[in-house]
């Protein structure tokens, strides 16, 4: 079991669905939603939340700064 758990909060309306966070995630946590936001973009979401380690790679590469990251040590 992982020693840290993380969580990612994506600002649904700010996300433009570029998919850079999906590629940047080393744990394959993020994916683009089938659903769209009010501007028609397939926003990013945590498809696999148990695997998140809060490394912040997704937040660093996000061009729209719509990702907030939390992390706890277990």
């Amino acid at each position: 079991m992982a020693k840290v758990r993380g969580a990612v909060v994506v600002d649904k309306e700010g996300c433009k669905g570029c998919g850079l966070c999906v590629v940047a995630c080393p744990q394959n946590v993020l994916a683009l939603n089938k659903d769209v936001n009010s501007r028609g973009y397939h926003y990013s979401y945590m498809a696999n939340p148990e695997e998140c380690i809060g490394c912040a790679h997704c937040g660093l590469v996000c061009p729209d700064t719509c990702i907030t990251i939390y992390r706890v040590k277990l």
């Binding site: 969580a7 700010g14 998919g19 590629v23 939340p49 996000c62 061009p63 719509c66 990251i69 939390y70």
Partner: protein, 257 residues
């Protein structure tokens, strides 16, 4: 452990810088400009110079940068940001002045201004976004376009016979004695974003210490202009741009013995 137990203010590790205005930017999805804006905001915030910093924005996609970062801005005519910044820096020596320019602005119409400002060693940070294309106007060829690269004005690819060679302006600028620090970075992965942030922080620190011009090129993507997805554009940049524009430091006078 439930997600709600993790999402608490005390567990926060990364969030939007308070200098970034809470609006949705005009940039295309996946544009490198957004990442560089974020880095600039974080660096200004961390150095505590929000009240002292004046940015000079170019003509190009970053023309609306004043809507996105909460500092003082001055808009310059196309390519003339280093000349305007020279005036601001000389009349306000206590301020930290930076220009933020694209490759069409800096390497083409503004080539004279940037070379002379750097040669005079003006106390400026220059952030140069090089994506090899005129993104804002519809993907025309820029001086930095690679040989063979397809743009809307070189539909068969850029040729040396007709269009000459890509202009490596960062290498030119690194030779000038007025330039204190010159580096080329990129922002396509988390590791390169961290490296780029260190370079931009060093550049701002140099200006605070009045060491002369600090020049940071950020090799970037323009996925709309290149007609690719953001992820494809990053891969294309690594494969093609990095051979023409090698990453790393070109000059650092601090490291001279």
């Amino acid at each position: 452990m439930e997600i709600q137990d993790i999402i608490k203010p005390e567990n926060l590790v990364y969030s939007k810088s308070k200098l970034q205005v809470d609006v949705i930017s005009h940039y295309c999805p996946g544009c490198s400009h957004g990442v560089v804006h974020k880095i600039v905001s974080e660096v200004i915030d961390e150095l505590g110079i929000q009240e002292k910093t004046i940015g000079v924005s170019p003509v190009g996609c970053a023309v609306f940068a004043y809507n996105l970062i909460d500092i003082d801005w001055q808009e310059a005519a196309h390519g003339r940001a280093p000349a305007v910044a020279t005036g601001i820096a000389r009349t306000n020596p206590d301020k930290i002045v930076f220009t933020y320019q694209g490759d069409g602005d800096l390497a083409s119409i503004g080539a004279a201004e940037i070379l002379h400002a750097c040669n005079r060693g003006e106390n400026l940070v220059v952030i140069f976004i090089n994506n090899g294309i005129y993104g804002m106007t519809g993907g025309q060829m820029a001086p930095t376009t690679l040989v063979g690269q397809v743009t809307s004005t070189t539909p068969m690819g850029r040729t040396v016979e007709l269009n000459g060679y890509p202009l490596k302006i960062t290498e030119l600028i690194a030779q000038l004695p007025g330039v204190h620090y010159c580096t080329r970075q990129s922002v396509h992965t988390a590791a390169t974003v961290r490296r780029c942030k260190n370079a931009i922080r060093k550049a701002f620190q140099n200006v605070m210490d009045k060491k002369g011009t600090s020049f940071v090129e950020v090799t970037s993507t323009c996925n709309s202009g290149w007609k690719m997805t953001p992820v494809q554009a990053n891969d294309w940049m690594v494969e093609h741009m990095f051979t023409e524009y090698p990453q790393g430091e070109l000059k650092d006078n601090d490291k001279k013995g």
